[in-house]
């Protein structure tokens, strides 16, 4: 109790001084580029509060941040001083050496951070993570009960059985949904499912793709069995569509992003029946493997390489203000926060369970994005029944190889 009071008093003092001296930045330009979703909006809004007294803070939140990111940071001085990155975008920036190591800044201004928030590459801190996300299972307990399924499935084989029970009981025609929109989403589903086999995507130490094997065939077949229980429109289902379907009560079992949990459980957009019976659990495993078929993602802060040290420091302080424990407390349900001050809530139970079950992070490999693109483009033919799994995997390998040669990853 006593300790608590001290923390609160401390927070109050910090808060007080922030308001007085613009987060303790004397001068500098802070320009933030990032994706656009609720957790990031909270972070950038808090960081923007540091402006004034010779400090300017500007944020550009856009879905298309990936398209301008590399060009914006290649310029010298860079257009943006800080980019909010994730597993995949950080690698893209590091491939061209566009972000700077943060060790000195963390030592100086990062006192309140958890050690687990540091993203270190080759011993150097390249980003400070603040939020985690993963796809996991959403289930409707009422529908499962009616279909005679006693417990929430923990494996995809269990999901298939439950789906069969639901359809044969005539409760729903298409009880299952995954984010299977052709392109990035579908590629991500393959990555998730393949992760569940425990196999590697590439031959160790090289950029040569290694999905054209039995694991790949099994992964594709599992995806095909699942989409057999999905609405025929499944190749157009992105995360917005699956959420809408869920809230309309058309689904009983879905793999969706953890960040959707809050919106699904709240009272907006769906009936009491749906939201009160929605259960969030960790991502299922499959094929007698222990690792959940999902990938863990983080969102974190990186600082540009091509800017002055003063601006870098100002940006880092502003961003630390953006992910401070006050911000976390005020926006607790936005995401699974990684910093101090976060209290896990019901909306994030699925992500926490997925991480606790030992899911692996999305690989931070320079050529993972290239493979992801090839996966997203080539799988749909197989799912639609136009070609065999072997042919689809051969296509993936060929498409990846051609693209990786252009990128210089393969000679």
């Amino acid at each position: 109790m006593f300790l608590n009071k001290i923390t609160i008093a401390g927070a109050f003092i910090v808060l007080g001084s922030t308001a007085m001296a613009g987060c303790g930045i004397s001068s500098g330009n802070v320009k933030i580029l990032s994706n656009d979703f609720p957790a990031i909006q909270s972070v950038t809004a808090a960081a923007s509060a540091c402006s004034g007294n010779g400090v300017s803070v500007e944020a550009n939140l856009t879905k298309d941040h990936k398209d301008i990111m590399v060009a914006a940071l290649t310029a010298n001085p860079a257009q943006y001083t800080s980019v909010i990155t994730s597993n995949s975008t950080l690698v893209t920036l590091m491939n061209d050496g566009l972000v700077r190591p943060l060790d000195a800044l963390v030592a100086k201004h990062g006192a309140g951070l958890n050690p687990s928030q540091m993203i270190t590459v080759d011993g150097k801190i390249m980003a400070v993570a603040f939020g985690a996300n993963a796809q996991h299972l959403f289930s409707r307990s009422d529908i499962l009960n009616k279909a005679g399924v006693s417990s929430i499935p923990t494996t995809y084989e269990g999901v298939l059985e439950a789906a069969k029970a639901i359809t044969s009981a005539g409760l729903m025609d298409y009880p299952v949904a995954l984010n299977t929109k052709a392109g990035w989403n579908l590629g991500e589903e393959f990555v998730n499912m393949y992760m569940g086999t425990g196999a590697d995507f590439f031959k160790p130490g090289t950029a040569e793709v290694a999905v054209n094997n039995d694991h790949g065939v099994a992964t594709l077949n599992m995806l095909k069995s699942l989409v057999a229980y999905s609405n025929p429109d499944y190749l157009t289902y992105d995360s917005n569509a699956t959420q809408a379907e869920w809230e309309a009560g058309n689904l009983a079992l879905a793999t969706m992003w953890g960040t959707r949990g809050g919106a699904v459980l709240d009272d907006e957009g769906s009936t009491e029946q749906v939201s009160s019976n929605t259960v969030l659990t960790g991502a299922p495993t499959w094929g007698n493997n222990a690792r959940p078929a999902s990938t863990l993602w983080w969102d974190g802060i990186s600082i540009s390489a091509n800017i002055s040290d003063a601006d870098a420091e100002a940006s880092f302080i502003a961003m630390m203000n953006g992910i401070s424990s006050d911000v976390i407390k005020a926006n607790n349900s936005d995401t699974v926060w990684l910093g101090v001050g976060y209290t896990p809530g019901p909306a994030q139970a699925g992500v926490s369970a997925t991480a606790a079950d030992g899911a692996a992070p999305y690989p931070m490999l320079p050529f993972m994005g290239t493979l992801h693109g090839a996966l997203g483009a080539e799988i749909s033919d197989f799912l639609q029944g136009n070609e065999s799994a072997e042919q689809a995997l051969a296509d993936i390998e060929a498409a990846y190889t051609a693209a990786a040669k252009e990128k210089g990853f393969l000679q």
Binding site: F37, E58, I68, A244, E245, A263, G269
Partner: protein, 293 residues
């Protein structure tokens, strides 16, 4: 034309009316639907349960207490300051139309009146220029614009849109100028005018129908453009279309989608006035009898 209408057989008249009516329904229905739906909540307008919710407003009743709600408009215009974007769009659109047409009328006139081979090759070259997908061009600019600190400002987006639109403007105005008889300006030149004076005093007064139609297309291009404005403008300088896209965000937050719908409906209102005005211009410009093919 009215005396022709009276002389038309009733069967043909009916046919014409039915055809135009069908087209009007096809063209207008999605918009009317959107306008009606913009006063509902997302759960109705994008209802996965039953499309009829969008008409009756079941969820709107539950969530707001009435069958209609202005939340979308309030959210877009007041909370998220859509008016700034509207202002930016106005600046961009007016500049693009004026600059495009000024450059285009001069160029199009020259191309229409020159019989030299190079004029033809220039026209062809303009076509090749136009064949390039915008996204390729824009991603080509990105790095130099960042390097020279030109990125993010309205003038940059304006000049890029003028340039991208120039081939179309040249071709269209060239076609219209071909329809204006050469004797008009040439007789002026015989009377001692220079080429530019002939253009200024003889051609300009009769060129408006073509210019207005071309201007309409420049207007639409600038008004609707997403590729250029979304990639080349910073958030504080956003025009309406990228602003609407930002209402949707990466993950569509409940309620914000209706901001976008409301914004789209508001963005179309000024066009109504504009089209009515432009329609009168075309007809009045032509009935004066200056142009006869």
């Amino acid at each position: 034309m009215s005396e022709i209408i009276h002389r038309r057989p009733w069967s043909l008249n009916t046919l014409i009316f039915v055809f135009v009516f069908c087209w009007i329904i096809a063209a207008g229905f999605p918009f009317v639907w959107t306008m009606w739906g913009s006063f509902k909540v997302q759960g109705d307008f994008f209802s996965k349960a039953d499309w009829a919710y969008a008409i009756s407003g079941v969820r709107t009743q539950v969530e707001t207490g009435g069958a209609f709600t202005g939340d979308g408009y309030f959210g877009a215009w007041i909370t998220r300051s859509f008016w700034v974007a509207a202002l930016n769009t106005m600046i961009v659109v007016v500049s693009v139309v004026i600059i495009s047409l000024s450059l285009g009328t001069l160029g199009g006139y020259a191309l229409a009146r020159s019989g030299k081979k190079y004029a033809f090759y220039l026209l062809m070259l303009a076509l090749v220029f136009r064949a390039m997908p915008h996204i390729t061009l824009v991603s080509g600019y990105l790095l130099p614009f960042f390097e020279w600190n030109l990125w993010g400002h309205l003038p940059t987006a304006i000049i890029v849109m003028v340039a991208i639109n120039q081939p179309f403007t040249l071709w269209m105005l060239h076609s219209f100028f071909l329809n204006i008889p050469k004797d008009l300006d040439e007789s002026a030149m015989v009377d001692g005018c220079s080429r530019f004076q002939a253009f200024r005093h003889v051609i300009v007064p009769v060129m408006w129908p073509g210019v207005i139609t071309t201007g309409l297309f420049s207007f639409l291009l600038a008004y609707n453009d997403f590729t250029v404005t979304a990639t080349l403008l910073s958030q504080s300088n956003q025009t309406m279309v990228p602003k609407i896209a930002s209402f949707l965000g990466t993950t569509q937050t409940e309620g914000n989608v209706m901001f976008a719908v409301a914004a789209v409906v508001s963005a179309t209102a000024p066009l109504f006035v504009l089209v009515l005005f432009f329609q009168r211009q075309i007809v009045s410009g032509l009935t004066s009898g200056a142009v006869k093919g």
